[in-house]
Symmetry: C2
Subunit: 696 residues, 2 copies
């Protein structure tokens, strides 16, 4: 799948290879780049790396580039185990020369030039970029190019001309529902840099916590955070850390709803009588600010002024989502205000509030970002809509002249597969039919890590590696959308991300060790066999199936908290079944592998049961373990039927499918992922003929 | 194996159970304590843990105890995933009450009371200790008692009366040959605390580096460290960190040999003409201080004075090992001095030097520790001998009135198994026959992590988990020596140690990912199958078999650097073969497991070969991989022969053993660990009769 793509802006024609490692030829090494660059042209040979590798900066330089060079060398040393000198060279000649043209803006802007050209050949490498932003992206691409080879560590000879498709490529982390310490935030920002995301959206206030030190209103963090908040110095450090990586930091203070924690210290802002305390449960709650109280706007004026000084970004997120209006309905003073001002609905009251707050934000030099709800009649055109509702909402906004970013489809907490997120495009659906000028208003997207069911321990594993697929969606050309290629590269990038300190792979093993206690090696292996093929329930099913109402004090030490949100083993098994069925069940090697896997599943429960008797946390997945055994038995029966070359009887099929229906039901909030693939085997066995000749 | 042990000093009789998890009854839960306490008495039931768990300190308290309580709660929260309050309770009533009698010494002394009594029942727990040292040890024991259970996380009801066998239980880390950053040192100190070691011996100067900032002689670290050194502030912080964990810090400045790095800045101290530069290779080198130069003693007086102020411990290690004397032989001035002073041999010249340095150390208020070589005629009786030579040397010293600590047998860099280290007892061999008073002089021992072949990345994996077995040898009663019990507990403790931040398990996977590059899941699994059963060559074979002369710039990214020093899989396979042969080859389940394992090994090379073609680092273990296949084939042939119930012919046996001899030869500096076990299978097959009736 190679095609010619004209890179707008560069005006040159290059080969854009939508790389699938499986499909590259012997001459073309498999590149494991993520996001895929806009344009790639393969060269000959590769650049070998040894201890003498060096990097030098020419043209425009600044301390940030120096530091990015040091970080690059440290990361390269880690990736290769080579004892590299960790200082960029002071001379213009080096293995990798980075030439930057001019400075980027002091405060990073939306749509700044982030492009770069990276040329690698056997003699050396050159990275050229208009700005430090592009140079830093190019360094990340080089890191991904380096891999072990027959002759040593090497980077493939290649010319890459690259630029992002969208200027706004963000990750939102909710530090409010569960507090996320700065070291965890920092390593996630490292991960964002690796996949070229450029906006860290920091969700800082919620019903469950107000997480920023306010010197003007110290009761906000003192009474609203359980002492879990960021000091202003810490925030400044974090912003500098992000800027060093070409990443903007957009703060969000959610109002007028989602604000119970504010009221713990400042009940006078609320619409109800109180008393208020930090919310410990999840959901949408009644408390909301009083839009009719002038003191509220005075307070917000001062607070926004204080926060606007700490957060230099031009954008300021005011939330604005999910107000249920119950406190407004119950407050006679508010009702009287609405009547006297001709405000008929709560929606209009919220619009009034948003309008007032937008003016305050503007007064303090910022542009408002808000969730869909803030888009109501009369709001100024310069606000940015972040859409949790979807492309239709976004397109409607764009037609009205508003800029927007997509988050619907990128909610990491819903447990979707990387492929499902990957298929979501900001320009699809209603947005596809927008005029060119309107399309320009779609700035990009943001993945969102809402934190009801994550904590500092497992949050990495809920963000990564899937977030890398979303990052590619937002950076790479729209045509880049082959999930098989994406997964092949994601596997590689996921391992690389752990070198940055992210723990998304290792934490699962640690958490399983916790709940396995003193398991024998065989028992632990059996636990792994089970947990390798189960995933937490999707979307909002977790709330609906919780054994007891979850709160912020609920331990997250169960299997559902420990397993990855996406099962690699489950996906691979599905691929193998596809391959087998597509061969008209003639692929003997695939059959042997399926049989081995199904046998292991069938026999697994017997090994795991003694451990389940000793650990209440393993016992919780007893039914899942029995299901896995049943699944193994069913799959083996299907293979046996296929091997006989006869059509399995309908009664057998009905019985097997009934078993599968039971297996597919979530238990302990977990799904057994290979069930649909085994169903395919059963259907193939029952179809008989369908599996005796090659499929179309 | 339960026996009654009178705990001297406590004067009470308790049951001392040498716990083997396999042997505990249904009523007696398996305790995974390491080191095993001096005395354990089982109670009934267990203490359940939930979010309300609290700890309080009564009696004598100090800030260190408060901090240890916070650390304990943080660790308990990590182990269980429970959202515990992380502050010790301010009231006397708590789930765990810690009662301490009095302060320990301001500067921790050798032989201070470290005992404690820990009583746990269903209602609560009480920890009683004379000093904070014992209280902190007891907290670690409690952490090990907590495990997942059928009803939740719980600590078994138990009464433990515990005290160390030896007062000096140390780990030495060589920060000089490869610099080890402070974060790595700190997490290793956390590990020491977990297994109740109490001395961190810091090897700070070597031919390859002088690692401490000297303000009196800044050229020492400026010219002798490649900028890799600890500042004095950092050292003070580290000492405070260790003290908080009941751990003394003993610095070592090795002299008069092992000191080339000093001479880079101060050639005037040396016996040769120079010029000198930091040594980049490993071994014993010629440069040595000039014992005949008064300026050397003046320099050392000032330096020792400076360092004695930074390191508060009463002991000061002056090294003193391995002087080859070549510079002395070649220096006419030194020869003249020897003649005029009647010094006949270099050994006597070193004794003269040591005597002078000892006086300086004494002058600055410290007691000398030195390697065996410092024990020569006339040295004062208060010095402590650290023996790399062994128990005979130690016993000889003790008879002469010197105190000593054993390190022979505890060199972690030699790649021995945990069981082999575990079998080494400071009181065995010549030491066993010492009089009681002389035995008192054997203070304990120290494991030693020499760092020629470790770096910050893999050093944890070279220290742990084996160091925990040495810690048990030095703490627990001499009778505790069952390797099966040790391994069962070590597995558990090893997983727990990673919760402290140690990386001994995860790093191996990361390093293998590096050398596997973009391996498929199946290829990576095949690499793991191979690397799970190979170990680096033992003792000093690595030097002797190096492909090129190793230096401090040699990358440590090979398989030999990545695999653990001890193969758990190899050990388990050996145990399984023992079990099978002991059943007269009738144990069908064991046979099935052996056959599955051997088949996987036989087939592994075919899966791994494509990866070896793509990665030079995997290619290096091609022969090992082929050996593993051959081993699988040989083992399967043996099982087949056994299954036939006939005696395999001698010619077959000879041929198989010849194959095994080839397999046993190290390749790529790696050993294939299951080879001897497969040899047992072959011999069993060839013996026929030997395997047809139960073994004695």
């Amino acid at each position: 799948m190679a095609q010619n793509v004209r890179l707008e802006g560069l005006g040159i024609l290059v080969f854009c290879v939508l790389m699938n490692p499986v499909m590259t030829t012997a001459q073309q090494p498999a590149l494991h780049l993520m996001p895929l660059p806009a344009g790639v042209q393969f060269g000959t040979g590769s650049l070998g790396l040894d201890w003498s590798f060096s990097v030098a900066f020419t043209g425009y330089t600044e301390p940030r580039l120096e530091r990015s060079g040091e970080r690059f060398l440290r990361q390269l040393a880690r990736q290769t185990g080579l004892p590299l000198s960790l200082k960029p060279a002071k001379r213009a000649k080096a293995t990798l020369v980075v030439q930057t043209d001019h400075a980027s803006k002091e405060i990073q802007e939306v749509g700044e030039d982030e492009s770069y050209v990276l040329e690698v050949n056997a003699a050396g490498a050159k990275l050229t970029a208009p700005t430090p932003l592009g140079a830093m992206h190019g360094l990340q691409t080089f890191l991904q190019l380096v891999d072990v080879s027959p002759g040593g560590f090497a980077a493939s000879a290649v010319t890459i001309q690259d630029q992002p498709r969208f200027p706004w490529r963000g990750l939102m982390i909710d530090s409010a529902r569960h507090f996320i310490p700065l070291d965890v935030i920092r390593r996630n920002i490292d991960g964002m840099e690796a996949v070229k995301m450029n906006v860290f959206h920091w969700h800082l206030s919620e019903n469950q916590g107000f997480r920023v030190e306010s010197r003007k209103f110290p009761k906000l963090h003192e009474l609203g955070s359980d002492s879990l908040y960021y000091t202003q110095d810490e925030i400044r450090d974090l912003i500098a850390y992000a800027k060093d990586r070409g990443i903007r930091v957009v703060p969000e203070f959610d109002m007028p709803g989602h604000s119970t924690a504010w009221f713990a210290g400042h009940p006078e802002l609320a619409s109800g009588k109180g008393p208020y305390e930090i919310e410990r449960k999840w959901g949408i709650f009644d408390p909301a600010m009083d839009p009719t109280n002038e003191k509220v706007y005075k307070f917000l004026d001062e607070l926004i002024g204080e926060m606007a000084k700490i957060f230099p970004d031009h954008y300021f997120h005011i939330g604005g989502d999910e107000v249920n209006g119950k406190e407004w309905d119950a407050n006679p003073k508010i009702q009287a205000f609405m009547k006297s001002h001709g405000i008929k609905k709560n929606e209009a009251l919220q619009a009034y509030f948003s309008g007032r707050v937008q003016k305050l934000v503007t007064k303090h030099g910022k542009t408002v970002v808000g969730w869909d709800e803030v888009l109501v009649e009369g709001v100024p055109k310069d606000i940015v809509i972040q859409s949790w509702r979807g492309q239709a909402s976004l397109a409607r906004a764009a037609r009205q002249g508003f800029r927007g970013i997509l988050s619907n489809g990128y909610y990491l907490d819903l447990g979707w597969s990387a492929a499902r997120h990957y298929a979501v495009d900001p320009m699809s659906g209603d947005a596809a039919s927008l005029a060119a000028e309107e399309q320009q208003r779609i700035l990009g997207g943001e993945s969102c890590m809402w934190s009801e069911y994550v904590n500092p321990e497992n949050v990495d594993s809920r963000i990564w590696p899937r977030n890398a697929a979303i990052a590619e969606r937002l950076w790479s050309p729209q045509e880049v959308r082959d999930p098989a290629s994406m997964y092949a590269r994601l596997d590689f990038v996921s391992a690389r991300l752990e070198w940055l300190g992210l723990t998304h792979r290792t934490v699962s093993r640690h958490m399983l060790q916790r709940l396995a206690g003193s398991a024998s090696a065989a028992e632990f292996a059996a636990l792994r066999t089970l947990t390798d093929v189960i995933e937490p329930v999707k979307d909002y099913t977790r709330e609906q199936t919780a054994p007891a109402e979850p709160t912020s004090a609920t331990p997250m030490n169960r299997v559902v908290d420990a397993v990855p949100l996406e099962s690699d083993e489950g996906r691979r098994f599905g691929d193998l079944v596809e391959q087998f069925v597509a061969s008209a069940c003639h692929d003997a090697a695939a059959e042997a592998r399926l049989r081995a896997q199904l046998t292991a599943w069938r026999d697994n429960d017997a090994i795991l049961q003694p451990l389940a008797q000793r650990s209440f946390l393993v016992k919780e997945v007893t039914a899942n373990s029995q299901d896995l055994s049943a699944l193994g038995t069913a799959g083996l029966a299907a293979l046996d039927a296929i091997a006989k070359g006869q059509v399995a009887p309908d009664s057998w099929k009905a019985q097997q499918l009934a078993t599968l229906e039971q297996i597919k039901k979530p238990k302990a909030q977990l799904l057994l992922i290979p069930a649909p693939a085994v169903q395919k085997l059963i259907e193939a066995a029952a179809a008989g003929g369908a599996c005796s000749s090659p499929q179309p």
